[in-house]
Each structure stands twice: as structure tokens, then as C-alpha cells.
């Protein structure tokens, strides 16, 4: 009878696992993929495929080189690949997308210790690196539905009155995603559908998205006093995908409820500051990266007090 297992309690577990959580995130990203295919065409799928392939291969290769057990089965690299793809314009050269994937997985995630150890969101950081390195291809937008690639301005650039401006899309088109922008960020409806799924599955909590989007809405309303303007701000750029899918990444954001509120608030403020006064039309990526840096401090400051614990 010496072959009985002796282990520490608890002896039962609920049925969550890292893989199941990542699978839920992927399921939540499906509506946006469909939307981007409808808005931008088959190339949207191609870019997503390239990003995912290079993210997974990058993780596999990196772990081979550093002699770590392979973790590609947990699907986190797939999620990073998809999120990066959603943050790229549809016209980006494929090699640039592939390069971005490798930066995200190897530099931002792998070199910092792998899953759960990276302090910055891999997809966001890779996007920012691409934006700085290849600023022309990263800011060449395509008018949805046009047969040829015609450069257009994003609603944010139009709102800001930047050169090459045009007329703003209608609110309906903003909701559906028929506007210039990165391939996965444009359809608010598809993203909200995915966000709702994550909330229902309790993969994410409501705190960050509500604080983030709410702050952007309120702050812009205070600045301009125009609800219409604020609604456009809310639906523009990468705010919704950022608030639901990037600012809720576990390892790079606070794990307490209040911490998440503060994180969302900070992201909202920085986003508006950059959108209104910065050189770039969009600030969501920068705001999340900046708040990522503050995450350990926010987590520590908002840690719950142990019940009955005597202060030392």
C-alpha cells in the first residue's frame, strides 16, 4: 500500500486553468476578427495568422534556446499574437508584423521571465516599438471598403484637426467599425461583445474597463462640454480594445479591485492628455504602458488589510 499518494490539502480543485482562461480570451476576440475581416478584407486574417505564427514559434524557439519546458500549450502566445495583430494597420508589411511578434514574445515576455513575470504588456510594447521604428507604415490607414489602398485619416486625427483630415464617420459606422484604424480596434460592437463574454466568464472584472472608458468620457466632456465629441473619443482609436483586453492583462495590471480602478483612471487620464495635447493622435498604448510601470506600487498600496491583523 506504499503506492498511495500523500499530498498536502486541498485535495480537490475547481476546473480553471491558465489554458482555459487564455481560451476564453481567444473566444472573446473572435467577434473582432470577424469584424476586421468584413471591414478590411482577407488581409486582416493574413496579418493575424502571421502574428500568431511568429508569436508561438518565437516562444517555442526561445524556450528551446534557454532550455525551459515549452509553454506554448497554455495559449498565452496565441493571445499576444492576436492582440498585436489587432493593433496594426491592415497595410503593414508582413515582415514588420512578424518582427513585432518576436519583439513581444522574446524581448518583452521571455527575457523578463516568461508568463506572469513580464511587467509590460507584450502586445502594447511591441506596437509602440513598431510605431516608433516604422512610423510611416504604422500610420498609413486604409479607407474601409475602398478597392485600392487609399490613405485616410483616423477619426482621432480628424478630431484633432490634423493634416489630411476629412469628415468624421457616422456613429453607426463607428460602432460597426467602418472607419480608419488598426484592424481589430475599429468595431466597438464586436469588442464589447467579447468584453461582455469575459465579464460573464469572470475572466476579467469590470473595474478597469469602466474606470478607463469612464475617465476618458468624463475628462473629454469636461474639456469640450460636448457629449457628441466625448462619444467619438470613446469609440475612437484603441480605447475599447485597450480597456477590455490590454488593461486587464493579469501580470501587468493590479490584482486588487481598487488597484484596478486606479489603473483604469490613470490610463484614462494619460490617454486624454496625449490625445488632446500630445504629438500623437492616439494615447491608449502609451497610457497602458506607463500604468504598467506603476502596477507593482498600485498593487502594494491597495493590498487588502488582513482581517484581524495587528499593524506592525
Amino acid at each position: 500500500m506504499s503506492n498511495m499518494t500523500v499530498s498536502i490539502s486541498p485535495h480537490i480543485k475547481d476546473n480553471t486553468s491558465t489554458t482555459k482562461i487564455m481560451r476564453d480570451v481567444l473566444i472573446a476576440l473572435v467577434p473582432a476578427l470577424i469584424a476586421s475581416f468584413l471591414v478590411f478584407g482577407a488581409r486582416a486574417l493574413l496579418i493575424t495568422a502571421v502574428c500568431v505564427a511568429f508569436a508561438v514559434a518565437g516562444e517555442w524557439g526561445f524556450e528551446k534556446i534557454v532550455k525551459k519546458p515549452s509553454t506554448i500549450g497554455d495559449l498565452s502566445a496565441v493571445v499576444t499574437g492576436v492582440l498585436l495583430a489587432y493593433n496594426l494597420p491592415v497595410g503593414i508589411p508582413l515582415w514588420q508584423a512578424a518582427f513585432g511578434s518576436l519583439v513581444a514574445i522574446v524581448v518583452v515576455k521571455g527575457l523578463f521571465g516568461g508568463l506572469g513575470q513580464n511587467f509590460a504588456n507584450p502586445a502594447i510594447t511591441a506596437r509602440i516599438i513598431l510605431l516608433i521604428a516604422f512610423s510611416s507604415t504604422m500610420t498609413t490607414w486604409v479607407i474601409p471598403g475602398a478597392t485600392d489602398a487609399v490613405s485616410s485619416a483616423t477619426p482621432l486625427a480628424i478630431l484633432k484637426g490634423m493634416e489630411g483630415g476629412g469628415t468624421l464617420p457616422t456613429i453607426t459606422n463607428m460602432l460597426l467599425g467602418v472607419r480608419g484604424g488598426c484592424l481589430g480596434e475599429t468595431s466597438a460592437i464586436a469588442l464589447l461583445l467579447g468584453g461582455a463574454y469575459l465579464l460573464i466568464r469572470r475572466v476579467i472584472s469590470w473595474h478597469t474597463p469602466v474606470a478607463f472608458i469612464g475617465t476618458v468620457f468624463l475628462f473629454t466632456f469636461l474639456l469640450k462640454g460636448d457629449v457628441n465629441y466625448s462619444v467619438y473619443e470613446m469609440l475612437s482609436g484603441g480605447l475599447i480594445i485597450g480597456a477590455f483586453f490590454m488593461a486587464t492583462d493579469y501580470s501587468t495590471t493590479p490584482s486588487t479591485d481598487w488597484g484596478r480602478v486606479i489603473f483604469g483612471l490613470g490610463c484614462g487620464l494619460i490617454t486624454v492628455l496625449i490625445r488632446v495635447w500630445g504629438n500623437y493622435p492616439e494615447g491608449v498604448s502609451f497610457s497602458i504602458l506607463l500604468m504598467n510601470i506603476l502596477t507593482p506600487y498600485i498593487s502594494k498600496a491597495t493590498r487588502k488589510k488582513p482581517l484581524g491583523g495587528v499593524k506592525i
Binding site: M4, T5, P10, H11, Y250, K304
Partner: protein, 461 residues
Amino acid sequence: MKLGGETVYRKTLHGVRVPHRKNTAGDKPEKMPIPAFVTIPMSMHIGAAAKPIVNVGDEVKVGQLIAEAGGFVSSPVYSGVSGKVKKLDDMLMSGGQFVPAITIETDGLQTMSESIEPPKVESLQEFLDAVRASGVVGLGGAGFPTAVKLTVKDLSAIEAVIINGAECEPYITSDTRTMLDDKQLVWEGIELLKKYMQVKRIIIGIEDNKPECISTYKKLCVSGGGVEVKALPAMYPQGGEKVLIFHTIGRIVPEGKLPLDVGAIVINCTTLAAVAKYIKTGIPLVEKCITVDGSAVKNPKNVIAPIGTPIKDVFDFCGGFKSEPKKVLYGGPMMGLAVPNLDAPILKNTNAILAFNEKDAVIPAETACIKCGRCVSHCPLNLAPTDIETAFKLKKPEDLDVLKVNLCMECGCCAYVCPANRPLVQINKLAKAMLRDYQNAQKAATEMLKKKEEAKKEEKK
């Protein structure tokens, strides 16, 4: 609201919804045949081991004292069988320590000891003496000697006695059966507490997955009787002492303090019934009602077995195993202790033995922490297991002190919800030991410093 010197904004503490699996709740316990041998360890409680007073070759009868309490915080041990003392030696307990144990070869006659007679109880002192003599310890699992718990300097400090009938662990139904089958004894126990301990308020806390128990006791409560039933949501670890105190009288037991410091005494329903049984009949704690269940057990049921019965005999009584048992537990799956072999005996505080098949015994592979925060948001005591793990791995006992790992009751909610299957309870246990060593070392250092300074002063004089 201000409670127990601390502001708490929540009405309920966090926990987890575990599967109930109370398969045996409807089965009246069956008395099993007397085993050929019983092995009774001298340490089935918290505190000093009991001292054997029988020798090899002695005849013993049912209810006969075979070991005296080894100190104030200790408990006497009685034989539950009649027969002959076969062996007196050390046995390895599941906790890893060796303790003396008495092995008795039974004669199957179950001759009752002549010494059995109801104790004379007319005063508080006599009541406490009787509780001490009954050999009863905390039967919910902790095994803390009940007489020590009830020895209270100032009776007016007791605002409420909470009878723990939560039974929040999956599978276990032995408390449920005691509450239903021995309700007379439980109620007599309540009357004893009211009479001798002058308790004004008694709360019976029962999880709402046991509606039969709730209605049974609600019927017994009369207005002005000072006894009330509190139906608690079936949320693990509802039966944890601190959790139960908060959910019944809304107080937080501060670090390093006892429930009595917030006016509460928590006593398990089966413990109370065992005390009442001794005072009524003179029969001490010699047998237990045990839930036998788990995926490897052929006929799960509740069994009454003498203390010391090898668990193998109990499983045999339940039809043996459907499939090879790969993990066998004392107690429930959330906090139970895995035993290394089937010779382990039924102890005073054993309320269930569970046997699981190969599939349920698999320990899922540990993966990287993804910092999801589930362990933090499910901890009933608001601890941060993920931060404790980091501090432990970095060997930072001073951080563990701030994180209050010493408060952890090892309920297992954190490890239950962890998607990365990290052994968080194990880490908390080790972290507690690290913190204790650090605090002891610090204490020793300050004392040494003090002595040195005093010596210096002496020299100057």
C-alpha cells in the same frame, strides 16, 4: 461598522463554492462489527500526550480508562473495546511524528466497564471536571481539549456560544447525522451550557444545504429560550472558527487573541453531544460516527466505529473498494490529511475517511503564476497568497510578517481556485514556520542585547 476594534465593510467573508457531494446525508449510521485489533494513539488532541496506565497483558473493558491526561492541555483516553492489551509502543502518525500507542486485541464480548456511571454534576466545577473526564476534544477536526476551551475565568465574558453545525467540507455528513439522530443529546448539551456556564445566547450555525437540520432545531427553539438557529450560506469555509464567529455575531477575532476575547466560544455540535452523553450515561468518548466516501469506496455510508479501529476494517465494512485507492484522507478534501497506508486508526477527531481512485489522486502539474489575483479575492481573511509565495521564495520573513501569513488557517481556498495549480497551502505552511523562526531569533537577539546592556551597567557601578 466598528467590530472587534476593526472596521469591516463587508457582511460576509470571501470563500469558495465547493461541490457538496453530501451523498451519505440521508443514511443513518451503521454500527460496524468489532475489529480484531484496535490501535489507540496517545495524542489525538492538541497538547500533551496522554500517559498510558495499562500494561501489556492487562484485560480492559469498554469505557475503561487506559491513559490519563498528560497535563492541563491534554485529554484522557478510554478503551472502546473489551480485550487484552497486546502492545505498547510508538506509532507513526500521519502528521509525521511518533507517539505512544496502545494496541488491544479484542475479545468481541464488549463487556462494559463497572466504572461506568453518570458523574455527579451540580456545579460549574463539577461540570468542567466531567468534561475533562469525558475525554472529549474538538471533534470538528481540531482536537482541542474541550475542557480547556470551557475553562473561562470570568463567565460574564461569554456573550454567545456558537454551536458549529456548518459542516462545510464536501462529502462529510457525520455532523449532520449527529444533529438529526442525537438531537436530544445536542439539546441536553445546550441546556448544560446554559445551566453551568450561564450562557445567555446560544447560536446554532448550520449551512443552508442542510434544511432538515435547520428546521429540526428551529422547532426546538422557543422564544426567550436564548437559543437561535442561524442558517448560513453554503460557502466554504463557513465552519472555520473565525469565519463562523464573523457570520454569526459579526466580530473579528484579532491576531493573537482567542474567540473569547470577542465574547465567543465556538463548539462543534458532535463535541457537545459527546459531552452530554458522558454526563447523562457515564460513557466517555470511545466511538465515532464517521463518513466513509470517495470515488474508490464501494458503498459509501456513515459508520459508527470504536476509536482505534484500523481504517482498512472500516472500508471493508463498506464493501471494500471499487477501484484501487490511490489517495486516502482523514477528513474532507479541502483540509483533510492524506494517510500513507490503511493501517492508520480512527482517531477521536476523525469525522470522515475518504478514498479516491487514481483519477482523483492525480496532482495537477504546477505552472507559472499568471498573477490573476484569484487567490487574493477568495481568501476569507484577506491575505495575499501570491505575495506570500514571492516573499517566501525570496526568503524575506520580515515581508511575511507584514503579509500576516501567521493568520492563515490553511482552509485551501487559494489553492482550490488557482488556475496555475500552485501549492499555495503548502507554501503558507512553510512560510509560517519561516516567520516563526525569524521571530524567535529576533526575540533571542533582543534579549541577549538587553542582558549585555545590563551587564555593562553592572560593570559601571
